[in-house]
């Protein structure tokens, strides 16, 4: 039983990180229908900023993290402005390829600047894990879960109650009408990217504390996983990203633990495919019928 709980806990930990990153994906997708492949690389950007902040600029960890969040936010806004906005009226595949290009560019520039060698992340939590009768609960896990869920709630409140949040929902439902209603669509989209990038930066902190190895390819894997999580839960929906993240994390852990760690990737993808076949818009998504 302890074994199962341990594995479950592992899954929850991993899942909460996926969920946090998935939030950023889903917000951006919800508003501009773009799979932002470069989202995972913002994690990488933030991580390197923290490294630079602490080792080169001599800042305190807290300040470095703050710096990384601020830069990530600004970067996200600039990225949208420069690379995605010109393509808003183009076929969606073009934005997708641009996003892929941006991702590649970021990884290769990082490689040029920092070298491909992975370096350790300079922030660690040296709080020892709680030992609950054989079940090890690390502080990182608690922090990650609490922070992710908390941020999701904050985000949900923001989107449903605040003026800007409602504007976001309006833009994601019908951009043209929102524009006609006087909503400053460009600003709202920038805000979305800003929030998404900020979440990615925080996600980066939690991710790197758990897996303290920073390399230019840091963002690829969590990026893909978070995207899958977002789709699994229903892309465009904030609770969907959360749900998808946790389910993905738990499924992954349990598959590795109980079925086969060799085939765990295949199993996870298999689960995704089966879910989508029964619920084509994701677990929480509602199938939007095309108006005939």
């Amino acid at each position: 039983m302890t074994l199962f709980l341990s594995q479950l806990l592992n899954g929850i930990h991993v899942g909460s990180i996926y969920a946090l990153i998935a939030l950023g994906y889903t917000m951006v997708y919800g508003i501009v229908q773009l799979i932002n492949f470069a989202h995972g690389d913002i994690l990488m950007l933030s991580a390197y900023l923290v490294v630079v902040g602490i080792t080169k600029l001599g800042l305190s960890p807290a300040l470095s993290v703050l710096l990384s969040i601020v830069v990530a936010v600004v970067f996200g806004v600039i990225l949208e402005r420069v690379a995605y906005r010109p393509l808003r009226s183009s076929p969606r595949i073009s934005s997708l390829i641009t996003a892929i290009g941006v991702s590649m560019l970021m990884q290769n520039v990082a490689q040029l600047i920092f070298s491909p060698n992975p370096i350790p992340y300079p922030i660690t939590l040296s709080v020892p894990a709680l030992n609950l009768g054989g079940l090890y609960l690390s502080f990182t896990t608690i922090l990650t879960v609490v922070l992710s869920v908390g941020l999701m709630f904050l985000l949900q409140i923001f989107v449903s109650s605040t003026k800007a949040g409602k504007a976001m929902r309006a833009v994601s439902e019908d951009t043209g009408t929102a524009l006609l209603m006087g909503i400053h669509v460009n600003r709202i989209i920038s805000l979305t990217f800003a929030i998404g990038s900020g979440l990615a930066a925080i996600g980066s902190l939690l991710y790197c504390i758990a897996y303290p190895s920073v390399a230019p390819t840091l963002g690829s894997l969590p990026g893909i996983k978070a995207f899958i999580a977002a789709v699994l839960g229903g892309i465009g929906l904030i609770p969907g990203a959360m749900l998808g993240g946790f389910i993905l994390g738990i499924a992954e852990s349990l598959a590795k633990a109980y079925i086969s760690s060799r085939m765990s990737d295949a199993i996870v993808y298999g689960i995704l495919i089966i879910v989508l076949l029964f619920k084509p818009a994701g677990l929480l998504g509602t199938k939007t019928r095309e108006k005939v």
Partner: protein, 618 residues
């Protein structure tokens, strides 16, 4: 005629000349094996890009797992040649390539079946998932060598001839001609009715289905064909490099080919050829800038997308394609020797319906979950009648249309069309049974020409197979000429002769509506459903439309059921009118009867008893 023949001859000749020149360079050793290897790599990439273009470009479905099919083809081919060491390599290679293609096609079919039910990004994710599943499975199987992969596969550059240089030249030949075959098949198929069908699905799936295209079949067909070619490319790759590892065929590889397709222009075969050639040879050219190579590559990608999002060639084909088309046409003619008579599409005989109801709807109803959208609908349309269906917004008029064409399946009731019950049939079947429609929001195949839009609707009246389309056999020729004549006739009725070769998207609004009607008529319907045909028209255009509708009815002997809000039109041309409100038929009769009907008036002015009661409740 003579000029065209000369042009085709010239172009086939030039392909052959290019081949002979390159072949001899390699054979004689004058071309460095570095360059010949690049040529072979380009050839294989072209096949891959074209294959992906069939799925993502022509069909318009974003596929992110295409490298998986290449993997299946590569491993199958490699395993086969390794297990047949005693057979002459040329034979085992041929078997291997074919088997690789077929197995990949099988995977394409099996994956396509569930995947193609989804749309857009969901389909993309599922294909990504399948691609990764293939990779993981290959990593774990013993027969594929697991993580270490398959090595010491006989290479074409060594084993196709005793002399090294000859073998390398033959390798080039194999890849070159396979590439030509794949490209030619894709072109010719694209130009045939099957290609038109696939393109129409990309443009507007619902309209495509309504025009009689069995969309599921064609989606699977395109997907499977793309997988087949990818499998062949995989087999070629395996025998070029002699070594396979599962990691090679990962998500990044799929993206690499997707970039080739997008950069070249989705749907443009020529574009795929050009971009593959560039994207394979450019990194070699940029070797001097090793560190910066990937930065340059990604920057170029981004800039290309921002400044030319439709790719190098958009959806257009270079004129060479037309000449390839002409080559085939020429070759077909040469073998057939005489020009076939155009085979006009089959026109059903509707004479027997004189004076009888052609469409009867009894007790039709549908619920969506708990919401009753329509209930107890009874209506009929007599032969050659013009009947109106009116009612306030949300009354359920379009829902009725959707049920008539099988887009929605009614929860109760029956629909009898020309004596047959059509409830439960799929839309495309119904569309070929004698009922056609236009849509509230115009659904044209935007990037196809006006003429092509109409030709799509003739799909079910033609019979030639895909193979016939590829080889430009006589049946293809005569049937295509037949529908060309008919389609132009139809356009003539609507005064659209001079816009026949324009893109449908460039037409003014009024003409777009006319085109939709024209397309609907191409399926030779007995009943024509028009959904708000006068929407957005000014009085002059509306009057013109009324005239057109009357003309159609007489000329094509077709009964018309139309939904409309414009009362002048409804009262002007309808012989009978049904009024719907809240999903029920509340009145039926002639225009005069309806105009003076109390209930109808209340319904339109919205002051029903129901509303009053709610007001008082506050």
């Amino acid at each position: 005629m003579r000029n065209r023949r000369n042009a085709s001859l010239l172009n086939f000749f030039s392909l052959f000349i290019i081949f002979i020149i390159l072949f001899s360079f390699i054979r004689s050793g004058q071309m460095n094996n570095y360059y010949s290897n690049i040529l072979v790599t380009v050839g294989i990439s072209i096949i891959m890009a074209v294959s992906l273009n069939i799925t993502s470009g022509l069909l318009g479905q974003l596929a992110l797992g295409h490298a998986g099919f290449m993997s299946v083809g590569a491993y199958t081919a490699g395993i086969i040649t390794k297990s047949l060491p005693d057979m002459p390599f040329a034979f085992s290679l041929a078997i291997a390539l074919l088997a690789g293609g077929i197995l990949a096609a099988l995977f394409g079919f099996l994956i396509g079946m569930p995947a193609l039910r989804l749309k857009g990004d969901y389909l993309a994710i599922v294909t990504l998932g399948f691609g990764e599943i293939i990779r993981v499975v290959v990593e774990n199987l013993n027969i594929t060598g697991g993580a270490a992969g398959l090595s010491r596969i006989t290479r074409m550059s060594r084993a196709l001839a005793v002399d090294k240089k000859m073998s390398a030249a033959i390798q080039f030949g194999v890849v070159f001609w396979l590439m030509v075959i794949v490209v030619t098949i894709t072109f010719t198929l694209g130009r045939s009715r099957h290609g038109r069908a696939i393109l129409s699905i990309r443009e507007n799936e619902i309209a495509s289905e309504a025009a009689g295209i069995p969309t599921t079949y064609y989606k699977l067909f395109a997907f499977t064909l793309g997988a087949f070619f990818a499998g062949i490319a995989g087999g070629l790759y395996a025998h070029q490099i002699g070594l396979l590892t599962p990691r090679h065929f990962d998500f990044n590889r799929s993206i690499e080919y997707l970039v080739m397709v997008v950069l070249g222009g989705m749907g443009s075969i020529t574009g795929s050829i050009v971009s593959s050639a560039i994207l394979v040879s450019l990194p070699e050219f940029l070797r001097g800038f090793a560190d910066w190579r990937m930065v340059i590559y990604s920057l170029t990608l981004i800039l290309m997308m921002i400044f030319r999002p439709s790719g190098l060639l958009g959806t257009k084909e270079f004129s060479l394609s037309k000449t390839v088309h002409k080559i085939q046409k020429f070759l077909a003619k040469k073998f057939v020797r005489k020009e076939r008579k155009p085979k006009l599409p089959f026109v059903p005989n509707y004479d027997v319906w004189e004076g009888k109801p052609v469409l009867t709807v009894e007790n039709l109803g549908i619920r969506f979950g708990g919401l009753v959208a329509a209930e107890n609908i009874n209506l009929h349309v007599m032969n050659d009648e013009i009947v109106g269906l009116i009612g306030p917004n949300g009354a359920g008029k379009t829902t009725v249309f959707n049920m008539l064409q099988g887009v929605y399946v009614p929860t109760c009731g029956s629909i009898t069309l020309l004596g047959k019950d059509i409830v439960g049939k799929s839309t495309y079947e119904i569309a070929s049974s004698g009922i056609a429609r236009t849509f509230q929001n115009i659904r044209l195949f935007k990037s196809m020409t006006v003429l092509e839009n109409v030709k799509v609707a003739f799909h079910t009246r033609m019979t030639y197979s895909p193979l016939s389309g590829i080889t430009r056999a006589s049946r293809y020729d005569s049937e295509e000429r037949g529908i060309d004549i008919r389609a132009r006739e139809l356009l003539h009725v609507f005064d659209m002769d001079d816009v026949a070769d324009e893109n449908a998207a460039s037409l003014p609004y009024g003409m777009q509506r006319k085109l939709e009607i024209c397309r609907a008529l191409a399926t030779n319907p007995k009943v024509l459903l028009l959904d708000e045909p006068a929407a957005g028209m000014n009085p002059t255009e509306t009057a013109e439309l009324m005239d057109t509708i009357r003309r159609i009815r007489t000329r094509f002997s077709v009964a018309i059921l139309l939904i409309e809000h414009d009362m002048s039109l409804v009262m002007g041309i309808c012989e009978r009118i049904y009024v719907l409100n809240y999903g029920h038929v509340i009145a039926e009769g002639t225009p005069e009867e309806i105009a003076s009907n109390e209930e109808v008036i209340t319904a339109y002015l919205g002051m029903s008893n129901k509303d009053n009661k709610e007001d008082k409740a506050c």
